[in-house]
Each structure stands twice: as C-alpha cells, then as structure tokens.
C-alpha cells in the first residue's frame, strides 16, 4: 500500500516538475485572452497555407514594409519549399523592384544595383537610429523573428492588429499614441495599420481586416520559422521510428532479462529452501553463507 502510494507520489512530482518548468517561464503577466483563429501551422501536422503566405507577403510589402524591416529573410526564401513558394521567376520579379547599395567597386565608389535573389529583404531605414527618429521615437521592430519574440506568438500579433479601440474614459493618451487592447500597457505608437480593403488581393479573396491580419500573421510566423514544415514532418517520422524502436528494444530487454530471471528464480528457490531447512535442523541461517 505504502509502496503503491509512493509510486503515485513520484509520478505526481514529475508532472509538477515538468509543468511548472514549462509554464513558470511563460506565465509572467496576467493571462490575456487573445483572439482565436484557426492556424493551419499549429499541431504535429501543421503546414502553411500557401496562398495565405503569398497574400501575407503582399500585405507586408504594401502595408508594413514602409516602417518594418524583415532583415533576415532573403528574396530566395520566397520560392523555397515550405514557404510562399512563388516560382523562381516571380521571386526574381519581386526582387528586381528594389535597389540596394553595393560596393566599393574597383574605383572605390559605392554604387546602387538591382536586388538579386540572394540578397536579404531591403530595409526601409539604413539603421535603427534612423528608423526610430522617423517614427516619433519608437523603433518599429524588425519582424524577422517577431512571432517568436512575443508572448502569445501568432495569437498575440493577430490580436494586436485587430485590438485597436477607443481608449476608455479617463485613460490618457499623448499625441501619436494609440489605445490597443492587447498591447502590454495598452499604449502603442503604431497607428491602426489594417483596415478593411487596405490591400486588394489578386486571387479574389475578400480583403476584410480579419483576413488581412490572418495573412500577415501567417507570413510572420513563416518568417520566424522558415523550416517549420520540415520540422513537423521530421518530428512525425521520428515519433513513428521511436515507437518501433522502443517496442523492439523493450522486447529484447525482456528476452535478455528472462535469462537472468529464470536462473535467479531457480537459485533463489534453492537458497530459500536450503536456508529454512538448515534453520529447521537447528542451525543459524545467518551463518550459513
């Protein structure tokens, strides 16, 4: 009974250990209920919605890229597997719209050239300081890993984009500061970026602000984790592999141990009987061995 209770206790402790470990780091602030939407990339089999990623790129280009950089994405990523999967020609066409400073050339001069597939996304400002100065003292963060850099991830970004409201009575806002339900502290310097119809989708999808928020968020999650699809695929294969391997190893272990167990039982039975008989005959069993 006591042994049984112990094993249960041990299990409980392990569970507590793992859960507190994983949640304590996360549950800093009071939990805010983020807006929920169905993300295709969640879960073991999660993949990106290709068309949503392509629309998301369009939203980034037309709405966000004026202030926000995505400096760790390259134009070649746009046609890579697991991403928006534009054709190479489409990606080249996208890249060729931009110019970037290169050099120095053999005369020691810097020069402008057309962007290639291998180049990273061009930044709206040359550096953080310029970006901050141009945006009223608030740096529009680089969005390369934004979805991993915020508690709540995709849900947070989606909620924030749709979380603009009139400030409640008595809530003071300075000029150029807006009220957002989901921003920590509720003050945000970015004006409401997304309204119905701010972009026009060429694939005929209706550009509601929910749809736009969903598309850009999907794009940002991909930008944070461009290998997410292969990660999930490999993870699933690994689980299957481990299940088979563990079954085989378990059976081998049982087989190997059965050798010892049968031998042990024989010896033990013999030992016990021998000991008891010795005791029975008046000898002290402790001195037997």
């Amino acid at each position: 009974m006591l042994v049984h209770l112990n094993s249960i206790l041990k299990k409980i402790v392990i569970i507590i250990l793992i859960t507190t470990a994983s949640f304590s780091a996360l549950s800093e602030e009071k939990k805010i209920d983020f807006l929920k939407t169905n993300w295709s990339f969640n879960g073991i089999f999660g993949t990106f919605d290709r068309t949503s990623l392509q629309r998301g790129y369009q939203v980034y280009q037309e709405v966000c890229s004026g202030c926000h950089s995505v400096q760790y994405l390259s134009y070649r990523n746009l046609s890579e597997k697991g991403g928006p999967e534009f054709s190479i020609d489409e990606s080249k066409a996208i890249a060729s719209q931009f110019e970037v400073e290169d050099g120095p050339n053999s005369d020691g001069e810097m020069f402008m050239r057309t962007v290639r597939l291998s180049d990273n996304f061009v930044k709206p400002y040359p550096n953080v300081e310029a970006s901050t100065a141009a945006n009223g003292g608030a740096y529009p963060p680089d969005m390369s890993v934004l979805a991993k850099a915020r508690t709540g991830g995709a849900d947070y970004i989606y909620s924030l984009l749709l979380g603009y409201e009139d400030a409640p009575e008595g809530f003071e806002l300075d000029d150029g500061v807006y009220y957002n339900k989901y921003m920590p502290g509720n003050k945000i310097k970015m004006s409401e970026p997304i309204i119905d119809g701010i972009v026009e989708y060429s694939d005929g999808t209706e550009a509601t602000k929910e749809q736009i928020a969903k598309d850009i968020t999907t794009f940002l999650v991909w930008s944070s984790e461009p290998h997410l699809e292969s990660q999930h695929k490999m993870g699933f294969k690994t689980i299957i592999y481990l299940i088979i391997l563990i079954t085989l190893v378990y059976m081998s272990k049982q087989k190997v141990w059965s050798r010892f167990n049968s031998k042990k039982e024989e010896e033990e039975n013999f030992d016990k009987v021998e000991r008891v008989i010795t005791e029975y005959e008046g000898e002290d069993p402790k001195t037997f061995k």
Binding site: A21, E28, Y72, P141, Q231, H232, G235, I246, T278
Partner: protein, 428 residues
C-alpha cells in the same frame, strides 16, 4: 555473478593488455556487477552521459557557424536557423538539450537523496557529482548569453553584478570578469571561450565520477550492501545496458517532442529580441533550471546576503553525507525521512515557481519561508532525524526483503517440512 578476471584470448591481446590494460578496462565495464534490484530511477546516469555527449557534438557544429561578436552573434544564430543545413535542428537540440540535461540531473540528484546514495562509502562520488552540477550551471549560464538576445544580455548583467557584492574587491572583480565597465564584447568573447572549455572539464569529472562509483559499486533501492560474488548482482552488460537503453529511448522521445513540436516553450520570448543595453526587460528571469537559486537570491533583503545564501544553498549539499547522520541509507526504511524528502521536493519546486515571479507581496513572503525551510531541512532536520528516527527493520539481503516479515518464514518452513528426512546435499 561475480566479476571474473580478464583473460586475454590471443597472444596479441595479452601483449597489448600488459602494456595498456584497455582490454581489462573494457572487460571490467562489461562484467561490472550491478545490484539486480536497481529500478528505473537508476537509469539517469546513462541518460546524463548521453546528454553531455549530445551537447558536445551539437555544440561543436554550432561553433563552426557562430560568431562571438556583439554585432554579429544574434545574426549568426539566425544564419544557423535559416541557412545552415539542418541548423535549426542542431540548434534546437542544443538549446532544449540543456533543459533536458538539467531535468535528468535533478532526477538523478533527488534519486540520490531518496535512496541515500551520498552516504558512506560513496561521499566522493557525491561530491564529484556536485562539482559537475556546479560546472553545468556555469556552462549553461554562459551558453545562454551567446545568442546575445535581451535575456542573454540582462541575465549576464544581473549574474555578473552579483560579484560586486563582495566587500572591498567586488567592483574590481566585476570589472575583471567583464573585461571592461559593462557587459560587452570582451564579456561575450570570454564566455564563448569558457562555454567551449567547461564541457570538457565536465567530461573529465564524469570519468572520475564513474571511476569512484566502480570502487564501492552501486547503491540500490534497499540501500544495504550487496554481496558482490552472489546472485544478488548481475553483469552490467547485457542486463543494465538493455535497461538503460530502453529508458534512454523513452527519455529521447520526450526530448525530441520538445525539439520538434515545442522548441521555444522552455526559453524566454525576449531572447529573440537582439540585446539592447538601453532597454531593460520588464522581468529579468534566468532559465527554468536556475530559478530555485534565483528565488533564494532575491529572498534575502541584502545583496551580499542573497549571494551568500545562494551559494550556500549549493555548497550545503557538499556537507550532506555528514549532516545526515542516519546509518540507514534508503528512505524506504525511514518513514519520517521519506515524508521530509517529499516536502523538500515540493519546496524546491515552489522556489522554482517563485523565482519566475516578481519579488513582491505574497511571492516574497513565500520565497523567504521556502528558503528558510530549505536550510532547516539540511542543517536541523537531517541531523535530528538521524538520531531519533525509528527506522524500519532492514532485510538480510536484497534478494528477499520479504523474508523478515512475520508469517513468511513459517510458510517456507511448512513447505520445507515436506523434504524432511531428505539429505540436504541431495538437492543438487
């Protein structure tokens, strides 16, 4: 199952082994007698060795692509994640591997506490183990600084600042550690250098840890000495190898679940924001495995006091073999100690939880109570328990701990009486 002496099978083997006894060593490792009653809590030694080797191999590959410079560190991590073939996999295994390493080491340490594995004659194994644990914490802390995210930078600032609490020379020590007047490029560089060095020191200590283990042999759940040349032990290979392998695979399943499906759950989102010395995060928290000590640090009102108590919390464990005065090893036969053991487990988990909370209000009060209890457990409860606790009777051997229970002997006697008249020697 006794340990037989190695007998070389060929002349070449004999020639080599007499010059460098590697074959004898290999034979010893295979036939090393282990108590047959070891349970699955004993498989974590092997799991930890696996963790260390995994960290070293993945770390080696990461080091080929990482750039230890404040302007490029964060970028180089993203380069690994995006452009290096399977870089994301290697980095996620390394980052989650650290957490898994600590999960396993905590289970390993608490197993030792429960079954009294630190007691005579295993004090040296215990102390070497603790040195490994301390080096692990140092290595993990410096590794967390390398991505140069916000938590890297501010974590490094908080922890290195602790040394400034030392009277008179504290400031100079901190400047010396930083290589400047704040956490900056020289700090990052030396942390990288040390992060690469320490795992090899750990590796060496692991060899000593195992060596020291092989002198007295394993403790076991019953906690009494086993007879080495008896059927109470079984050779390490294949029995324990198979059991360890099974446990390792189950552990790897949990490990890889994190790697593939929740690789960032154990980290802090702020570490995906590049370090900025001008912006302090709202809460600076270390990785989960350091949280109990962080809670103790903040529970003490004075800075120096906090530092002293934090280090004392670790070093007090070194004295454990002498603080615990009970002659009985296993908690199975110590009804009172068993209860206090679980209270200690709860206290440490509570401290971990509190370490992640802001040090104010109820959290601060609880931190102080838990810190006080932690020290009371080791300094007061253990010495008293060893003296006054009434322990349960120990079995004669690990083979039949039930034999001492009333009734059992009678039953066997009855069974044996059937053989009455037979000659004992005729049993064979």
């Amino acid at each position: 199952m006794s340990e037989e002496k190695y007998i070389p099978k060929s002349k070449l083997a004999a020639w080599f082994d007499s010059r460098l006894p590697l074959l004898t060593l290999s034979h010893h490792l295979q036939s090393y007698p282990t108590p047959k009653n070891l349970n699955y809590w004993w498989t974590f030694g092997g799991i930890l060795t696996f963790c260390l080797i995994t960290q070293i191999i993945t770390g080696l590959v990461l080091a080929m692509h990482y750039v230890a410079h404040v302007d490029h560190a964060f970028e180089s991590i993203e380069h690994i994640m995006r452009n290096v073939n399977y870089g994301w996999l290697i980095r996620y295994v390394h980052a989650n591997g650290a957490s898994m390493f600590f999960l396993a080491v905590y289970i390993h340490i608490f197993r030792s506490l429960f079954y009294g594995s630190y007691k005579s004659p295993r004090e040296v194994i215990w102390i070497i183990g603790l040195i490994i644990y301390i080096l692990m914490m140092a290595t993990a802390f410096m590794g967390y600084v390398l991505p140069w995210g916000q938590m890297s930078f501010w974590g490094a600032t908080v922890i290195t600042n602790l040394f400034s609490a030392i009277p008179f020379i504290g400031e100079s020590i901190t400047t010396w550690l930083w290589g400047g007047y704040s956490v900056d490029n020289p700090t990052l560089n030396r942390f990288y250098s040390l992060h690469y060095l320490l795992p090899f020191l750990i590796f060496g200590l692991v060899i000593l840890h195992i060596w020291a283990l092989h002198v007295p042999g394993n403790n076991n759940p019953i906690g009494i000495d086993v007879k080495k040349n008896s059927n109470e032990t079984m050779p390490f290979h294949p029995y324990m190898v198979m059991k360890d392998l099974l446990a390792l695979l189950l552990f790897i399943s949990v490990f890889l679940w994190f790697v593939f499906f929740a690789p960032n759950v154990l980290g802090h989102p702020d570490n995906y924001i590049e370090a900025n010395p001008l912006v302090t995060p709202s809460h600076i928290v270390p990785e989960w495995y350091l949280l109990p000590f962080y809670a103790i640090l903040r529970a003490i009102p004075s800075k120096l006091g906090g530092v002293i108590f934090m280090f004392a919390a670790i070093f007090i464990l070194m004295l454990l073999p002498w603080l615990d005065t009970s002659k009985v090893r296993s908690a199975v036969f110590r009804p009172l100690y068993k209860k206090f053991f679980w209270v200690l487990v709860f206290t440490v988990i509570l401290l971990g939880y509190l370490g992640a909370k802001p040090p104010e209000g109820i959290y601060l009060i609880l931190s102080r109570l838990a810190t006080a209890y932690y020290f009371i457990h080791f300094l007061i409860l253990l010495p008293i328990l060893g003296r006054y606790e009434k322990t349960d009777p120990l079995p004669m051997s690990i083979s039949d701990p039930v034999l001492d229970k009333p009734g059992v002997i009678d039953k066997i006697k009855k069974a044996a009486s059937k053989y009455e008249g037979d000659n004992v020697s005729s049993f064979k």
